[in-house]
């Protein structure tokens, strides 16, 4: 049994999120929050936090991976069935194939992360521009491909998966969430933004929805 490790999510209270119609929404997280890590060590989590914050930065165009909780999202995915390749055909032999045959590696996402993060231990201590250089150097690796994809997932997934905290990603781009009906809206609002307040699936259904990663053994 590994010792419990924690990751600190930043406070988001000062952030104003502007959706496309120009209406500011105040993010509701007022304080820092300590989250128990399920897969990463605390050190690894800081590397992932630094890297995803360069992929989807917090800057003048709005909040980014840090506020959305992308690191927490990735930690949960790697700890769950996805991380151990429950959703991939893993029969040997593993043979290098053509580009058209897709990823044929033996490593699962956990192994890919763990190996790649070993080469980035100094990343959190570097300046932003130097962090970018380090990431540019690996941007064509399978690891970086996963990291970029997981950053988008953590920004824009339903919050039940641990990312998109306070629906910050959806507010940022004007996505309202899985509303049940647009039948009365679809023929209106032509050429102008229609931006109902974003809601998660749990908020819309008014009950807790359990994500797949918590249902699979």
């Amino acid at each position: 049994m590994r010792r419990r490790q924690f990751f600190t999510l930043p406070a988001g209270g000062a952030l104003l999120v502007y959706s496309l119609d120009g209406q500011p929404t105040v993010s509701t997280s007022k304080a820092e929050r300590k989250v128990a890590l399920k897969f990463f060590t605390a050190e690894e989590a800081l590397i992932v936090e630094a890297a995803t914050s360069r992929i989807f930065p917090t800057d003048e165009s709005g909040p980014g991976a840090a506020e959305a909780g992308v690191t927490v999202y990735i930690d949960r995915q790697l700890a769950g069935p996805y991380g151990r390749d429950r959703y991939r055909f893993t029969q040997a032999p593993f043979v290098e194939g053509s580009r058209e045959q897709g990823y044929q590696g033996a490593s699962n996402p956990r192994q890919i992360y763990r190996a790649a993060l070993k080469g980035l231990v100094d990343l959190p201590r570097l300046e932003g521009a130097q962090q970018d250089l380090r990431l540019r150097a690996i941007e064509n690796t399978p690891f970086f491909g996963l990291l970029r994809q997981h950053t988008l997932e953590g920004m824009f997934c339903d919050p039940m998966h641990g990312g998109n905290r306070d629906l910050i990603g959806w507010q940022l781009i004007g996505f309202p969430g899985p509303y049940m009906s647009w039948a009365n809206d679809i023929e209106k609002h032509f050429g102008e933004p229609h931006r109902p307040r974003p809601q998660s699936l749990s908020q819309i259904l008014n009950r807790k929805i359990t994500p797949w990663e918590e249902q699979e053994p």
């Binding site: 496309l20 360069r54 992929i55 989807f56 930065p57 800057d59 003048e60 165009s61 709005g62 980014g64 429950r86 959703y87 991939r88 055909f89 893993t90 029969q91 032999p93 043979v95 194939g97 053509s98 058209e100 045959q101 897709g102 990823y103 044929q104 990431l135 941007e139 970029r148 950053t151 988008l152 997932e153 920004m155 824009f156 997934c157 339903d158 039940m160 998966h161 940022l172 781009i173 004007g174 996505f175 899985p178 049940m180 009906s181 647009w182 039948a183 809206d185 679809i186 023929e187 609002h189 032509f190 050429g191 102008e192 933004p193 229609h194 699936l201 259904l205 929805i209 994500p211 797949w212």
Partner: protein, 555 residues
């Protein structure tokens, strides 16, 4: 192995074709019918909790469990085949309803000359225009033969559409329901296409525009345009699915039994007669004897089961095709589109360059593609990130700012092209990899050829013309078609391998699905299509199933 009491008919697969065949046969006979479905029961109630992009659209929660069974792939017979380790290019379904649960619901009819493509091409352009290595052949039926069944299938599903498309085949009756509502993007595309002199029409679809009661008395409500069709089940039942259109009838038919978690491994034969099937359920093996066996699983499984059962003729596995679908243009508007609203079939299409709707005399290819303007409801993970060409990176501050601005201002046009069959594109059993039960996987040998590449280039230039007419700020055209790959999603319209035809010499089954060598075995579904038209296949699968049911011998 436990031997079960014999039955009249056993149907393998509980999707569109299997359940439709069960319903039809049960309605017109007292035959005892058992449907074996390898997946789980499913239905609308659970779909409301399934409106989650990550689990359903990205982790494929409704699809075949790829960890247990996949297919292998190679571009040519000279290469080593390797497993498709994660689905990408197509998404096999699983569970009751199969892929018919998580489809988009587009239901065009095939163009009339599709069924006689060989004859029509040779007559109009001469034999020399058939591409080298192609194995084009006629279906053994004509559009006039299938037309009444198209209409019947449309009434069963309540197809919404607008009649009068000069680029579509003739109709003997109206669409059961009017077209669905237009999206803003759809109106922009329609106007531009009209200005170009084309014929834009809403694609006919199984997503209802209004409440509809079908001839079986099944009532379904109107579409809500929630944007969760493709890769999701419909939570209100507006999109026709086997579970909301066929199952309510089947559940009342006393002579049909639907068994789930029953994975068929072999069709057994004795002296050119099928005697039944073996299947595995919860770790136990069963033999289900039957007078007649109907194979109605998906294209790839139909082929695999015939091969595993060693029921073949020299035609089994040939004419493998996959509709040539791609995003051809991505472009950016000044104004916002609200593109989270939509239906899986919110799609205005232009068929002016489809099939032989245009003169090929001076062109160096045959057949064509339809142009589509999807407004399916844009979910954020898969759709965030497109930026104008001026942005060099796909991560970092500059990209993020541009991608946020572009997110709801991005439109796409796609093409859906015909894939003619070639002798080099086929299926057999893989020599190395097996499923979780130890049975060999199916092996695809498949690549694009010049005819597809030329269609693609031609249609891309037409698309670029429409894009310019839409007055976009900037646009990006897709790269030319090179080789077939199994990663980028095209469609789930893989076809062929158990093709129908006019004789045992040129096909596996006759036009009513009856196997030429094993006459009490029937094969249903798109595996019987000798070629892959540009149109979405489900309506044709249903029409052919209705035809097969009518011809099915009932004592």
């Amino acid at each position: 192995m436990t031997t079960l009491p014999a039955t009249d008919v056993v149907i393998i697969g509980g999707g569109w074709s299997g359940l439709l065949m069960a319903k039809e046969l049960a309605a017109r006979s007292s035959l005892k019918i058992i449907v074996l479905e390898r997946g789980k029961p499913r239905g609308s109630k659970e779909y409301i909790e399934g409106m989650d992009e990550l689990d359903y659209a990205l982790r494929f929660r409704m699809m075949q469990d790829v960890a247990k069974e996949t297919i292998t792939f190679r571009s040519t017979s000279k290469e080593r085949s390797l497993p498709v380790r994660q689905f990408g290019g197509f998404l096999p379904g699983d569970g009751v309803g199969g892929a018919g649960e998580h489809w988009n619901g587009m239901t065009p009819r095939f163009l009339p000359d599709v069924f006689e493509m060989h004859k029509a091409t040779v007559e109009r352009y001469g034999k020399s225009r058939l591409p080298e290595g192609s194995s084009i052949q006629d279906w053994g039926i004509t559009y006039n033969d299938i037309e009444p069944y198209y209409l019947k299938a449309e009434r069963l599903l309540g197809i919404s559409g607008l009649a009068g498309n000069p680029m579509a085949g003739p109709r003997s009756g109206p669409f059961p329901t009017p077209p669905i509502k237009e999206t803003y993007f759809g109106t922009i595309f329609t106007q531009a296409a009209r200005e170009m002199g084309y014929n834009p029409f809403p694609v006919p679809c199984a997503n209802l525009s209004q409440t509809y009661r079908n001839p079986d008395g099944v009532i379904r409500p109107a579409c809500q345009y929630c944007g969760y069709c493709e890769r999701f089940g419909c939570m209100v039942g507006a999109k026709a699915q086997p579970t909301n259109t066929l199952l309510p009838v089947i559940q009342k038919q006393k002579n049909v039994t639907l068994k789930t978690n029953a994975q068929v491994r072999r069709v057994l034969t004795e002296a050119n007669r099928a005697t039944g099937v073996t299947y595995v359920s919860e770790g136990k093996e069963y033999f289900q004897p039957a007078e007649k066996v109907i194979l109605a699983s998906w294209t790839l499984n139909n082929n695999r089961l015939l091969m595993l059962s060693k029921i073949g003729n020299h035609n089994t596995g040939r004419n493998l095709t996959h509709q040539v679908v791609g995003a051809e243009a991505t472009f950016f508007f000044d104004q916002v589109l609200n593109r989270y609203m939509g239906s899986g079939a919110s799609n205005v299409t232009v068929s002016d360059f489809d099939g032989d709707n245009f003169d090929h005399s001076k062109l160096d290819f045959i057949r064509g593609a339809y142009i589509s303007s999807p407004a399916y409801g844009s979910r954020p993970i898969a759709n965030f990130g497109a930026v104008p060409l001026s942005i060099q990176s796909n991560w970092g501050s500059e990209w993020k700012k541009a991608a946020i601005a572009a997110y709801d201002r991005t439109g796409r046009l796609r093409s859906s092209g015909e894939h003619i069959p070639y002798t080099t594109n086929n299926m057999d059993l893989d020599p190395a990899y097996t499923d979780h039960l130890g049975d060999p996987l199916l092996r695809l040998t498949l690549d694009w050829n010049d005819n597809e590449r030329k269609i693609h280039n031609f249609i891309s230039s037409k698309i670029e013309g429409i894009v310019k007419r839409m007055q976009v700020k900037s646009y990006v055209m897709a790269v030319p078609l090179r080789r077939y790959d199994v990663m980028s999603y095209k469609s789930t319209h893989i076809q062929g391998g158990t093709i129908m035809g006019s004789s045992p010499e040129n096909s596996v089954v006759n036009p009513h699905g009856q196997h030429w060598q094993v006459p009490n075995l029937y094969v249903l579904g798109a595996s019987t299509f000798p070629s892959n038209p540009s149109g979405n296949p489900t309506l044709t699968v249903l029409a052919l199933t209705l035809m097969a049911a009518e011809k099915f011998p009932i004592r």
